[in-house]
Amino acid sequence: MILLTIDWAYTIEKMVLIAIVISASLLIAMYATYAERKIAGVMQDRRGPNRAGPFGILQPLADGIKLFFKEEIIPNNSNRWLFVLGPCLAMLTAMMTSAIIPWGSTIEIGGRTISLQIADINIGILYIFGVVSMGVYGIMIGGWASNNKFSLMAALRGASQAISYELAMGLSLIALLMLTGSLSLKTIVEQQINGHFWNIVYQPLGFLIFFVCALAECNRAPFDLPEAESELNMGYHQEYSSMKLGFYLFAEYINMFISCAVIATLFFGGYDMPFVDESQLSGVTALLTGLVALFGKTFILIFVFMWIRWTLPRFRYDQLMNLGWKGLIPLALLNMVITGAVVLFTMKTP
């Protein structure tokens, strides 16, 4: 008697997909560090890294090797177990978010229809919020376990910032969910493909709020208070060295990539190539156009993230809290009420 049948092909298919997605996001995060330095350079009339390999494209590898060979220091007074757990948690949560992003439509290999999404769960957006809010534990545990007042202060800032901005982020998405009527990212993308416009047309204010909150959630400038060098030395990763520090920095870039992919999926039609009717294309071409569209949108958003970082100065702490609680949350509530009223009167969605 078979109690539990395991669909081996399905398992292997998902494993391969997970491996591809994780290595792709690692690779993109690696080159995001390069892009960041290059963009910082050209925006300040410099050249950026250009020594390691042609145009400096081996620079991320050199950085990684350097970090691996640095001395690993664990402070005597730190809580050793938590100290190691911090960067691991930051990296883990950064990776986990990528599980529900639909990277493309379906593809047929050997009679099997494979969906290019690791898990199409019907509570996709809730899952994102759950995992993202776990990400702050990486910062908090790391900062607290270092047993250093600057790290602790930075961790506190990081935690309060993440909590404040998650509220506005959630409220801005509620308005979007009223329109789509679904929490599954796949459904949201398909609605945008079959409908006339992308969600940004219906929800410009919601997009703006979500974008600002995404900046804050990724601890990117102008909201990089947990890493405010001028006040906190290095911030929550003050006591970290070697690859543990590397993990923190790397997790930040993975977070940035994933949140850009999420924004592209929610507001910019995901793998929908503009002005192209996907249903007319054959399997492989449709897949490729989808991938190009999604990654193109994601990279443009990453560029905007970096562009903002190298333009704006950092907020003061009270300004950050004012903007979050007195600016974005009322605005998101207003957006929600208006969207709700419009949806009620037109009954566009079920």
Partner: protein, 184 residues
């Protein structure tokens, strides 16, 4: 109050209007400025391949001069060592032997001539003190090195190339010295 420069601009202290209060428009303007800078000319000089042009009066590493026949001009009089405020120059004099006329210009020469580049402040006083037109500060600077010892430059490191064996290098170095003389 009188302005200190002609470029001084009064600070706009009007209260913000509603567009400025939202900040978004100003953020957008700031982002346009940074975007424009992407296409501006880069100010970086790519050092080992490109070098910044120096002025002819630049005071860099020292050169010990030779005359047209390739004889060393230095007579080890010690005036440069006396003039040196950092006491970076050491020398030992020796008498020229009868068969050495093609090597040294006058009867006395420097058997040992050392400059400690870590002490040297590149002030150029040795150049001004020299009565024999023998020492000049060139347009290069001392390269980085691993040991302190390697910064003590001996006569071999300092001497200008011999016009007989290396005429091209000599002409280049000589040209720099002449340029310096003219610009003074």
């Amino acid at each position: 109050m009188q302005a200190l420069t002609q470029r001084a601009k009064p600070v706009d202290r009007r209260p913000m209007n509603w567009i400025e209060k939202i900040y978004l428009w100003n953020i957008f303007k700031g982002m346009l400025i940074t975007f424009k800078h992407i296409f501006k000319k880069k100010v970086t000089i790519q050092y080992p391949e490109q070098k910044r042009p120096f002025s002819p009066v630049f005071r860099g590493l020292h050169i010990l001069n030779r005359d047209e026949e390739g004889r060393e001009r230095c007579t080890a009089c010690g005036l440069c060592a006396v003039a040196c405020p950092a006491e970076a120059i050491t020398m030992e004099a020796a008498e020229r032997l009868p068969n050495e006329e093609n090597l040294y210009r006058e009867e006395k020469y420097a058997a040992r001539y050392e400059i400690n580049m870590l002490r040297c402040i590149f002030c150029g006083l040795c150049e001004e003190a020299c009565p024999k037109d023998a020492i000049y500060l060139s347009e290069t600077f001392a390269p980085a090195n691993y040991s302190r010892k390697s910064f003590i430059y001996s006569k071999n490191d300092l001497l200008i190339p011999d016009p007989k064996t290396q005429p091209e290098e000599f002409n280049i170095a000589k040209g720099l010295i002449e340029k310096k003389k003219i610009s003074k």
